[in-house]
Symmetry: C2
Subunit: 219 residues, 2 copies
C-alpha cells in the first residue's frame, strides 16, 4: 500500500455545518488532508458514486474507502487517529454521555431550527420555544464549565459550535430570537472561548455569506 495508506480527502461544501464540524475535528486533531469543494446544485459523478444512497457531503475518503455521515465520520477519525482525543478516553460511561449529547444536539437543535424555518404562525412560535428550551437544558448541563466535557474541548463542543452558526442564520432569516447570551450566560462564555480556539478561529464562513446562500437555496 505504501503512500496510499496516507491518503485522506474530505469532500465538502463550504456552507454545510456537517462539513464544518469534520473540518474542525481534523484541524483540532492536527490531521493533514486534502479538501475538495462539491457543488451541491450540480453534484459530481464522483460524489454520486461515493455516496449513492444520500448523495450528500461530507464524505471522508481514507485510502479510497468512503466514510459517510458526519457523526460516523467523526467517530471513525477518533478511532483511527487516537492522538489529541476529542472523546473521553477509556471511559465508556463518559463516551456514552458525549454520544447522548451529540444526539440531543442533532434532534433538538439541528432538527429544531429546520422546523422553525419551515413553519409559520403559531406552529413557528412553538418550534422557537422548543429550541429555546433546548438551550435552557444545555445551559444547565454546561453550568459554568469551560467545555461540555470539562477543561478540554471535545466532540459535543464541536457539534454545538457547528450548529450555532446555523442558529444565527435561521434567526436572521426567520426573524426570531432563540440563542440569548444574556439568559444563557454559560453558553455565551463558552461560545466566546470556543470561537477563539486555534483551529476554530477564522475557519468558518461569515454569517452574511451563509444568510445569502440560505436565502438563495430556499427561495
Amino acid at each position: 500500500m505504501g503512500s496510499e495508506e496516507e491518503k485522506l480527502e474530505l469532500l465538502g461544501m463550504w456552507a454545510s455545518p456537517f462539513v464544518q464540524r469534520v473540518k474542525w475535528v481534523l484541524k483540532l486533531k492536527g490531521i493533514e488532508y486534502t479538501y475538495t469543494e462539491e457543488d451541491l446544485t450540480n453534484k459530481s459523478q464522483r460524489l454520486l458514486n461515493l455516496n449513492p444512497i444520500h448523495k450528500m457531503v461530507p464524505v471522508l475518503i481514507h485510502n479510497g474507502k468512503p466514510i459517510l455521515e458526519s457523526w460516523v465520520i467523526i467517530e471513525y477519525i477518533e478511532e483511527t487517529w487516537k492522538h489529541n482525543p476529542l472523546f473521553p478516553v477509556d471511559d465508556p460511561y463518559q463516551i456514552a454521555m458525549a454520544r447522548f449529547w451529540g444526539q440531543f444536539l442533532e434532534e433538538k437543535l439541528t432538527e429544531g431550527i429546520r422546523r422553525v424555518l419551515m413553519s409559520e404562525g403559531e406552529k413557528k412560535e412553538k418550534e422557537v420555544k422548543q429550541v429555546i428550551e433546548s438551550f435552557d437544558v444545555l445551559e444547565g448541563e454546561l453550568n459554568g464549565k469551560k467545555y461540555f466535557g470539562g477543561d478540554k474541548v471535545g466532540i459535543v463542543d464541536i457539534v454545538l459550535g457547528s450548529i450555532l452558526v446555523c442558529v444565527d442564520v435561521v434567526e436572521e432569516i426567520a426573524s426570531v430570537k432563540m440563542f440569548d447570551s444574556q439568559k444563557h450566560s454559560s453558553l455565551g462564555c463558552w461560545r466566546k472561548t470556543f470561537a477563539e480556539l486555534p483551529g476554530v478561529e477564522g475557519d468558518s464562513p461569515s454569517k452574511d455569506d451563509l444568510v445569502a446562500y440560505a436565502l438563495h437555496r430556499i427561495t
Copy 2:
C-alpha cells in the same frame, strides 16, 4: 464497590422497539440483568429522575449510572462487555459501516413508518413509496448474505429486526404494504434466519398485542 459493580438493570416497556433491541443485545451477548417494566401512561418518579430530558425508555442502569438512548446504550454495552461482539472487531471502517446502516435504518425506516402513520392521501402514498425504496436499498446491501455483517449476527440485524416488528404493525393499522418478502427475497430469508436465532425466538411481543396497543395509544 463489591457486588455493586455487577448491578445491571434495564427500564423498559414491552411494546417499544427501542427496548426490544437492547433486550436482544443483552440476550445475544449473554449478559445477566434485571428488567423493570415502566408504565408510560403513568411514568414513575424513578424514570423521571433517571431520564429528566426525554423521560423515555430504554434506560440502562449500570452501577447506579443511567445510560440513555438505545443506540448509545448498545454501544456502551459493546464497549463494556467485549465478549460475543455484535460490532465488527478492531476494524474502524467496518464499525463505521455498521453505524452508517444503523443511522440509515433509524432515519429511513423508523422515521419513515412514523410518517406513514401520521399522513393521509397522496402524502401517505409518497411516504409508503419511500419506505419501500429503503427496503430496496437494504435488499441490495444484504444481497444474499446471511446477516448484514456477513456470517454472524450483528447490530444492524438487531436494529432492523426491532423495526420490522413495527413495520408489520403500521402495515395493518394504516392498511398499506411496505415489506414484501417476495420482492425483497434476501430480506425475506434474512428475516426467517434472524427470527429463529436463540435469544430472539420467542422474545418479542405478538403482532396482535402490538396492534391493539398502538390503536389504543393513537385513538
